[in-house]
């Protein structure tokens, strides 16, 4: 778990900035990107737990229904883990597209959970689409920054192999 602990302060700082200085500016979903990045490059049980924790932190910051983002992140982690066994995201456009799809999937997962408990938040997806696009565009740059964070070499991957 200590290998992933760096992502928690990153998430705390990002969410603090997002909710104070830039509540109405579309920023890339850095928390989602860190879940996607760890699931693809360093999948482990601790990483899945990190995804769950990051979801919990995001729910607390935004005042969401507790568990809705945790659910989305845990599902995303599992799905990304399965996808990485079959696909490699090599080029920059593919990385960007995969990140955008991950952001959209997060939105859809959250919406499904909300609808299941009777909260109608359908217009939420309208907000998700531009954020997904923005997340996709900036994802390669953010992954580059994540590459500079301390990383263990699991499953034979090095930082050079990472997305």
């Amino acid at each position: 778990m200590k290998d992933y602990i760096t992502y928690i302060p990153v998430a705390l700082v990002f969410l603090s900035i997002k909710t104070t200085i830039a509540p109405s500016i579309p920023l890339p979903d850095v928390v989602l990107l860190s879940v996607f990045y760890t699931a693809y490059n360093r999948p482990s049980a601790s990483g899945a737990f990190l995804a769950f924790c990051l979801g919990y932190i995001e729910d607390t910051f935004y005042g969401n229904v507790i568990g809705s983002t945790s659910f989305a992140f845990a599902v995303l982690y599992g799905v990304t883990y399965l996808i990485r066994l079959k696909l490699r995201f090599e080029s920059t456009p593919v990385k960007a597209a995969a990140s955008a799809v991950a952001a959209l999937s997060k939105g859809i997962c959250t919406l499904l959970v909300l609808n299941s408990i009777g909260i109608q938040a359908t217009s939420f997806l309208l907000h998700t689409v531009p954020v997904a696009a923005f997340t996709g565009i900036l994802a390669p740059f953010i992954f580059n920054l994540f590459d500079r964070l301390p990383a263990p070499k699991l499953y034979g991957h090095t930082n050079k192999d990472s997305i």
Partner: protein
């Protein structure tokens, strides 16, 4: 089997954590309220970071607004805006009194017992927003810098002179989370001021509100003012919620589809009032004072009713 479990242990852990998350969702009372120690700890840890980024943002905005962008006009505009807010609130209170008086006259009731609501409030500054625009999640909430130590509790109404903002759903020692009236989890009992038709206003995540349960036969038109009905015990009666923006027929031909624009522009507010206590005082206090003098006692203040749970 064991090898399979070992190989896909990440997947199994993910599935397990998804199930735990679903359990948390279904047991969190639609995400509003409930004691959450971990959440309180996270908010307490992040409070200094938020405070630093909030004050940095305020400082930058302050320099821009106060010194670079239209020096002097800002103060004048703020003064005029405050005056308009005061006059709007006064006008609304007068309208309410007039309607009450008319009704009492029609019924032939001598309105001695007309009650007026007095409130105690705490001013709080907003320190963090969520969901107001792009990428902030689906929830519409904000954090204010007042908490338990300032007498704030859950289910207290949050207002501005322009109108209702929402209610407190989570409190820590020094911060409180306010659920905006535009959040899909929010619902408020309301009355259309002109026709006295009652309904329930719900957030729909677009920034506007839906006024539900108004029958097709009931009178509701564009630009009607919607005020709180004061039924649930959270919001005092007569606070402005918004204005009717659109009235349509529903598919079931039973209720109207009414869209209401909130009175307060939530994206522009910086401070709010939290109503910490409410009490009812009869208008004919002179009679009470006379009675008390006759008995040689001072009049006792009216008892403070507890804020009821929202229905």
């Amino acid at each position: 089997m064991l090898a399979y479990l070992k190989r896909y242990h990440v997947l199994f852990v993910s599935v397990f954590l998804s199930l735990i998350s679903l359990h948390m969702v279904t047991t969190s009372e639609r995400g509003t309220g409930g004691e959450r120690i971990v959440g309180t700890v996270i908010l307490a840890v992040s409070r200094p970071i938020q405070q630093v980024s909030s004050s940095t943002g305020s400082a930058i905005a302050g320099v821009w607004n106060g010194y670079i962008y239209l020096i002097g006009l800002r103060d004048e505009n703020a003064g005029l805006k405050n005056k308009v807010d005061e006059l709007t609130a006064e006008n609304n209170a007068l309208k309410e009194t007039l309607i009450h008086a008319k009704r009492a006259e029609e019924l032939g009731i001598y309105s001695r017992g007309l009650q007026e609501q007095t409130t105690a409030t705490v001013t709080a500054d907003i320190v963090a927003f969520s969901g107001l625009n792009l990428g902030g999640g689906w929830a519409r909430t904000f954090l204010v810098n007042k908490g338990i130590k300032d007498g704030i509790d859950t289910d207290m109404a949050v207002v501005t002179p322009e109108g209702v903002i929402g209610r407190v759903v989570e409190v820590t020692r020094s911060t409180s989370r306010v659920l905006l009236l535009t959040d899909p989890r929010s619902n408020i009992d309301v009355t259309i001021q002109r026709t006295r038709v009652k309904g329930v206003v719900e957030g729909d995540n677009t920034g506007a509100l839906r006024l539900n349960y108004v029958k097709m036969l009931d009178d509701a038109a564009k630009d009607d003012v919607v005020i709180t009905a004061g039924l649930a015990g959270i919001y005092p009666k007569g606070l402005i919620v918004g204005k009717v923006a659109e009235v349509r027929e529903s598919e079931d031909k039973f209720f109207k589809n009414i869209i209401v624009n909130p009175a307060a522009d939530i994206t522009k507010i910086e401070s709010v009032l939290i109503i910490t206590s409410r009490q009812s005082l009869p208008l004919n206090t002179e009679e009470k004072e006379k009675k008390a003098k006759n008995k040689g006692q001072k009049p006792k203040p009216a008892p403070q009713p507890p804020l009821g749970k929202k229905t």
